[in-house]
């Protein structure tokens, strides 16, 4: 990896939840920050998210979940990414997610999650830092 390459991010809305204000705002903010952004659209199954991530060869999957289904959907997407040999992809996201759940998901290999009121700059900085760390490791 080198600094010239743009960070590729898949912004995904898994599950039946139609609240896409956050997903669209974060996708725009990522784009403005210089990331290459792919947005899945609504009502995606975990399979659809993982397929898109692999096909688009992204570095990061950022899922927005406001439906309370985060404890099902995050681990499932993580497991399926790993099963596809895409364990190098960072799985992060945001939504209405209680802190205890964020900690539990962390244990399952999910990255940092951002709750209501988080500035988009925080998520951008988190992804940049992670990406740089990856580069150092290579």
């Amino acid at each position: 990896m080198n600094d010239e390459r743009k960070i590729r991010v898949l912004v995904a809305k898994p599950g039946l939840d139609g609240h896409d204000r956050g997903a669209k705002v974060i996708a725009s903010a990522f784009r403005d920050a210089g990331f290459e952004v792919i947005y899945t659209g609504l009502h995606q199954t975990p399979e659809m998210v993982v397929n898109a991530a692999v096909q688009e060869d992204v570095d990061v999957v950022a899922m927005s979940i406001l439906s309370g289904a985060h404890m099902t959907l995050f681990p499932r997407v993580r497991e399926m990414l790993d099963a596809e040999g895409a364990d190098h992809i960072l799985l992060t996201g945001g939504g209405i997610i209680p802190e205890d759940d964020m900690a539990a998901l962390r244990e399952k290999g999910v990255g940092r999650l951002f709750g209501p009121g988080s500035p988009t700059t925080e998520a951008i900085a988190y992804i940049r830092d992670w990406f740089e760390e990856q580069g150092e490791r290579v």
Binding site: A27, G68, G117
Partner: protein
């Protein structure tokens, strides 16, 4: 006096009056100029003062802001009279307070039924059903796509059986029930009518509302099933069926709430919602229905956001615009068709996860704006809704907030107390003008459905959301606890309600039992009849009612319709 002399006198009187008025305007203008000089010489906190929607607010409003001759009489008028700016009813809260209607639903029908009994016991006067995501999208609890979402964000209702449990011990002829459901609204409505039948109650006794506003789903909330044209046909089927069989039931609640929550400004919420309303009216008329046969049962639902006066003005403008259109454009003759009645909910999007107790105060101000704007019913949000589903305690505080407003504040004691305020009347006029301008933009898109298909509404809303996010992150706009006054953010100690996976397991088991016990031949027969009606254009309600009665499930009914109607694909962009 002869006629000529009489006319001469009258002309002279009129000239005197005009001269007097001109002198008054000159006096006011001079007075204002003096004041403006003083204002300009004094430092202000900010260069610009704007509403949350970006509307520039001037430092002072005066009688000069209402220049039109006779404006107050014709545009403001009297409550309960055309154009209803001052309220849809002539006596408003002096006769009856707004209905306090808390939106509730979680887990299974049984748990939600218990919450309804609790709310009714605590003085709530109407019910409002929140469905879970699978139900909102037309999936049964045991469908693979429902995994992890059953009962999490609302109550799971997959068949008449669940609907019967939901209203167990609640006589449906005595409580008005609102149901927030859109994509599969016609199916849940039929479950409801069939559940009432089981209680021995005929549809003409039912009072309540089903949201059933699919246009704003495509624009903002995104719980759709079918493409626009067949979806609109099903809605008109409901107008037709209800006007005949359930005349006290509102077959639609034309909703700005979700449009606003998704990011729209106050003016966009107002204009998109009303324009959607006009679309439904036009569809009804195109079916050959008499506008006065269905328009009186069209109801509305607006969001009440933070900007106090703009929200009040929005409701006043909404009533006026609706009345004028219904009378002047659609030729409605029955005053009931001109009268915009609305439910309101405080704005979920304004709640903060930081220092959540502060939300109680936000909700209280918003609730007061709703009452001053003349709402017919109100949901006040609970302080913990940005963390999870509300607990019983926080729901009680939200309800108590309305009761304090109703019984302690004095706000409901006089009708439309802000009428005549230079500021509020000016804002009302501005919002009306803004909405008219947006109607023209929508026409330039070719109308509502082409605008949806092109993603125009969605893009407008997303753009406004981005502006608000930028203002927040650059601290141009202060949100207490989020970008300012953040001391105390660390100590969030608040109970939240959690729905475990056992809800889903139990619901799936219940469905399996129901599927075993029902009459399969009857299920097949009614679904086949429904498919046929979907194809031949006859009214869908009687066919879906037949399906409901023999315990066809939500997804089975959805699928039968989908076979004929197809499904909706959204334009994806950001």
């Amino acid at each position: 006096m002869s006629t000529t002399e009489d006319e001469v006198t009258r002309t002279a009187d009129l000239a005197d009056a005009l001269a007097e008025q001109k002198a008054e305007v000159e006096r006011l203008t001079a007075q204002l100029a003096d004041w403006e000089a003083k204002y300009a010489a004094t430092p202000t906190r900010d260069d610009h003062f704007t509403t949350i929607s970006g509307r520039e607010i001037r430092p002072l409003y005066t009688p000069l802001d209402r220049p039109q001759e006779g404006h107050a009489a014709s545009e403001v008028g009297m409550p309960g009279e055309y154009p209803f700016t001052r309220g849809p009813y002539s006596t408003m809260y002096r006769t009856r307070l707004w209905t306090m209607r808390q939106f509730a639903g979680f887990a299974s029908a049984k748990e939600t039924n218990e919450r309804y009994h609790y709310l009714l016991d605590h003085g709530q006067t109407g019910l409002s059903v929140a469905f879970d995501f699978p139900t909102l999208m037309g999936y049964d609890s045991d469908h693979p796509r429902s995994l992890g979402e059953v009962g999490v964000c609302g109550v799971a209702i997959s068949s008449l059986q669940d609907m019967e449990t939901l209203f167990d011990g609640i006589p449906l002829d005595q409580v008005s029930v609102s149901m927030t459901i859109n994509g599969p609204a016609i199916i849940l409505f039929c479950f409801y009518v069939a559940a009432a039948e089981k209680q021995g109650i005929s549809p003409d006794k039912l009072r309540g509302t089903v949201q059933n506003d699919i246009l704003k789903e495509y624009q903002a909330q995104h719980a759709w099933v079918f493409p626009p044209e067949p979806a609109l046909r099903a809605i008109v089927d409901m107008f037709e069926w209800c006007s005949e069989h359930a005349p006290r039931y509102n077959p639609i609640s034309i909703s700005g709430y979700h449009i606003r929550e998704a990011g729209a400004t106050a003016a966009q919420e107002l204009a998109f919602t009303l324009r959607n309303g006009f679309e439904y009216v036009e569809r009804g008329i195109a079916r050959g229905l008499d506008v006065d046969a269905f328009a009186p049962r069209l109801s509305f639902f607006f969001d009440i956001h933070n900007d106090f006066f703009e929200e009040i003005a929005k409701l006043r403008a909404a009533r006026r615009i609706w009345a004028k259109r219904m009378k002047e454009v659609y030729g409605a003759k029955n005053p009931e068709s001109w009268r915009l009645r609305t439910h309101c909910q405080t704005a979920g999007v304004t709640l903060t996860a930081q220092q959540p107790e502060n939300n109680i105060v936000r909700v209280a101000y918003q609730a007061m704006a709703a009452a001053l704007g003349g709402t017919q019913s109100l949901h006040t949000n609970s302080m913990d809704e940005t963390l999870a589903l509300p607990t019983e305690k926080s729901v009680r505080i939200a309800l108590r907030t309305q009761q304090i407003l109703a019984y302690e504040s004095g706000v409901p004691n006089t009708i439309d107390p802000l009428a005549g305020s230079y500021f509020v009347e000016s804002l009302t006029d501005q919002l009306e003008a803004d909405a008219e301008a947006i109607f023209e933009e929508i026409e330039a898109q070719g109308g509502v459905v082409p605008g949806i298909e092109a993603g125009w509404f969605q893009q407008q809303i997303a753009n406004s959301a981005m502006v608000q996010q930028t203002e927040l992150e650059s601290a141009q706009r202060i949100v207490v606890g989020v970008n300012e006054f953040t001391e105390g953010n660390a100590d969030v100690e608040i109970d939240t309600l959690r729905i475990g996976p056992e809800v889903e397991e139990a619901q799936v088991a219940r469905m399996a039992k129901m599927r075993r016990e029902r009459d399969d031949a009857e299920v097949e027969r009614t679904l086949a009849a429904l498919r046929e009606a979907a194809g031949d254009g006859s009214n869908l309600v009687p066919r879906i009612l037949d399906c409901a009665r023999c315990y066809c499930t939500l997804y089975e009914i959805r699928e039968a319709m989908e076979d004929v109607f197809g499904s909706y694909k959204e334009p994806v962009f950001f």
